[in-house]
Amino acid sequence: MKKIANYIVLCVSITLLSSCDSSLLDIQNENTLSTGVFWKTEADIESGVVSIYNMFYRQGTWTRNIYTQMTGMADEGVSYAGWTELNEYTKFIFTDYNFAECNVKIWREHYIAIFRANQVLDNIDKITFANETHKQDLIGQAKFLRAFYYFYLTTLWDNVPLVLKTSSASDQPKQVTTEEVFAQIEADLEDAVTKLPAIRDAKEYGRPTKGAAYGLLAKTYAQHHKWENAKKCLEWLVDGEGKAYYDLRPNWADNFSNRTENNKESLFEIQFSLMNRVGFDQTNNYLDPNAQLGTQIEMNQAPAGIGWNNIEARRWLVDYFKREKTTEGKNDIRLFHTLWYDGASSDFPEYPNQLIYGKPWNSDWGNRVFIKKYSTDALPLYYWNDNNFRSLRYADMLLLYAEVLNELNTTPPAKAVECVNRVRNRVKLPNIENSTYYNGTQITTNKEAFREHLKIERGLELAMECVRWIDLKRWGINDANTLTSIKERDSDFNNFVLGKSIRMPIPQSEVDNNPNLKQNDQY
């Protein structure tokens, strides 16, 4: 009997003791890699960083829609797309705030990129790297990219939720003001500046450098009207250490060609490739390792009947370009490489046999103006191309430096004029003082006139590079007079409502289901 009792005690204790380990319930799925076993090694972090770059290749980011939206809203672009919603979205007519193509996708994919950056930043500190500099570089890259995506988010929607930690499903992140978004971008980039290397080996092209971080930081400070801070960044690039790494390309067109990528004028460049050449569009298939890595910028903007023609240019650009002649008495070569229009053959007789994807100008196009910048000599035009997008260009920095210096002084300083002239001289335009069209004396001596003239210089030099909308926001469209003058260039602005249209409507489903997020004013 006693023996039996002993057995019972033994059995009970085995049962009790062995069933206490609750971790047995949390089984790892052995068939896939789960988060529970990831984020342990340097290699995990490295591949985490790569996947942030992967977000460049999405329809809502730099594959296509951001070009349509940013160029379309700005006064340089217009859409005659047959897709009415897409077309209206570039004209400040926002009917359905849940419109996928140019609202939801852009919003969503920017936050996916931010989620990826946050994962890297939340996990990297747990890991010891063999080489500390390498670790700091990776932190710098993740912060640069997070800042990059917030920069465009706030450019489009202003007041967005700020997510800085790895998300969980129940999160309802708080919306912050544009000021606060800028402050966050600045904090990330100030840190990135100290962590990123000044130069990279050819194998690492595509990853940001210190100069790239300074460039984006300068743009952010300028948007934020923190001129003094912007000046410091630009000083580094123009007169400081950066002077050794960056310069204007003698041949202006090199900035938009797939044969002269990652050149000295480029501070940060999105790397596109045709390596993944699957037959159908996989750009938004997040599970396909063979998804395309090219850009559709060319297909998106190619003329009616050739490409999708979702976006084209406003005619005033042609007229403005033709205001001045080069020192050789010719038309501005930037016009030739930026736009396709009816008069190009006679304006540029030095280029005989001008063809658009193998065809001459079609007279049905009338006085429409198509975007040539970033076109390649692909024939026939393919859905994707490999032409890197120059996201931060040195010419932009020089003109911005001129603007910032002007804002900080009562009259335009000599350095500011010098920067403008560098950009002009490269395309054989005379110094602004000697312009045959503009009042150079006034421009170089009057702060207001200089600022106004920069709007033209930037508009022409940087046309169709997704810069104009950022510029318009920095300069402000806050009063009826400004609006009237913009309307003269772009009738899309007839739909522009002061205090409303300077930002897009936030996707409505996002506003409805996040109590901490308000729809933008008047939407």
Partner: protein, 391 residues
């Protein structure tokens, strides 16, 4: 007469085995360098909830069955109540989370259904002819008790589900008719005298300025209808005479409002696409008040989230009619068989409805938008012939 009452709780976990675990996506690639090359990225793409539990459904009902007139008349009344707790659904989460690859499974809340059902039946036999008929009518009230993630309200692009209210109520812009003249446009003002739709032209939709702020914005969406039927009806008829037998089953739902997605798409007219053929829009010559003018390249009148696309979805359908004949046993025996039965069944032959979509009995698109008919494939109409042998 019989009185009865039941109570029970069921557990259910009809979701994926590994839904509580986050996986690493190994597909991302990125290009670097000169010459260019690809690098492999790895990252978490889809979020998950680790604290998932089984969903539980508690049901209770009470009723009585009454039989009278020598079992010929049957009457049943029942009150039922069910509560689903911790419902497991893939509830969409915010895009700002950066989640992709589908919403994670979550115990998204609790629902309550209560209602009554009555059934009346009759059967009789007159010589070789026997027949039966029964009809049931039920009414159901649905209420959201709790939503997932601590939310008190959840919106889709068409519907609103709020705690204390029925699930998936229509939450849309409301059409108040059509502007018939320029004068009407100028006269359409809010309480402060502001012209609400200054850019409208005759023939455009008058949208209701629900919050009276003088502009039409997302704040003007409002509750405009319910996707829930007032009552449902089932009908079963049967008859047989000698070797012939006939059964008819019918089913109907009344009073629910359906968002007609195919009409919203084909009534667009703003895009170069397939639009309604033969529809007479508003014109100066044919001024109507229930549909706007047609404007190509302009979406002002064609938005999907307006109550213009709501329709009464009431219907009654004879879901099947079967006529059969059993060959007399004497004949069967001659060919060595016990029984031969032949029949013809008509499925969904007759549907009585005013609903203009493809089929008023459609597959819904999720519990939060259950009244939305997104052009789902209609139930087939079929004729089936059957011949069965018993050896």
């Amino acid at each position: 007469m019989k009185l009865r009452a039941n109570y029970g709780t069921l557990g259910n976990s009809s979701i994926g085995f590994w839904d509580y675990q986050s996986t690493i996506n190994t597909a991302p690639r990125a290009v670097f360098g000169s010459p260019e090359y690809k690098e492999i990225g790895m990252i978490q793409s889809r979020l998950s909830n680790i604290d998932l539990v089984w969903e539980r459904k508690t049901t209770a009902n009470a009723g009585f069955d009454l039989v009278a007139l020598d079992n010929q008349l049957r009457f049943t009344a029942e009150y039922f109540y069910s509560k689903s707790k911790d419902l497991l659904v893939y509830l969409p989460i915010l895009m700002s989370s950066g989640n992709e690859g589908g919403a994670p499974a979550v115990n998204a809340g609790s629902l309550e259904n209560r209602g009554v059902e009555f059934e009346i039946g009759w059967n009789d036999r007159v010589g070789d002819f026997s027949y039966s008929a029964s009809m049931n009518v039920s009414h159901l009230k649905n209420k959201v008790v709790d939503l997932g993630y601590g939310q008190t309200v959840y919106y889709t692009s068409l519907a609103k589900s709020e705690i204390g209210q029925p699930l998936g109520m229509w939450y849309l812009y409301k059409m108040n008719g059509i502007f018939q003249s320029e004068e009407e446009v100028q006269k359409y003002i809010n309480s402060k005298g502001k012209v609400i739709q200054p850019n409208a032209l005759p023939g455009d939709i008058i949208y209701d300025d629900y919050n009276d702020d003088g502009i039409i914005s997302s704040e003007d969406r409002q509750l405009v209808g319910s996707p829930w039927p007032d009552f449902e009806v089932g009908l079963n008829l049967g008859a047989s005479y000698k070797g012939f037998d006939l059964t008819i089953n019918g089913y109907g739902r009344f009073g629910q409002e359906v968002w007609n997605g195919s009409a919203a798409a084909a009534g667009d007219f703003a895009n170069n696409q397939n639009n309604f053929n033969g529809m007479m829009p508003w014109t100066q010559e044919h001024p109507v008040n229930d549909r706007p003018r047609i404007v190509y390249g302009d979406t002002r009148n064609s938005r999907g989230d307006q109550n213009r696309w709501l329709e009464d979805g009431s219907f009654f359908r004879l879901s099947d009619i079967t006529l059969g004949y059993t060959v007399p046993a004497s004949l069967c025996g001659k060919v060595g068989l016990d029984k031969i039965h032949t029949s013809v069944t008509f499925q969904n032959l007759i549907t009585i409805t005013k609903y203009s979509g493809l089929d008023p009995e459609f597959a819904d698109s999720g519990i939060f938008t259950m009244g939305a008919d997104n052009c789902s494939f209609p139930n087939p109409r079929a004729v089936q012939f059957a011949l069965s042998f018993t050896f």
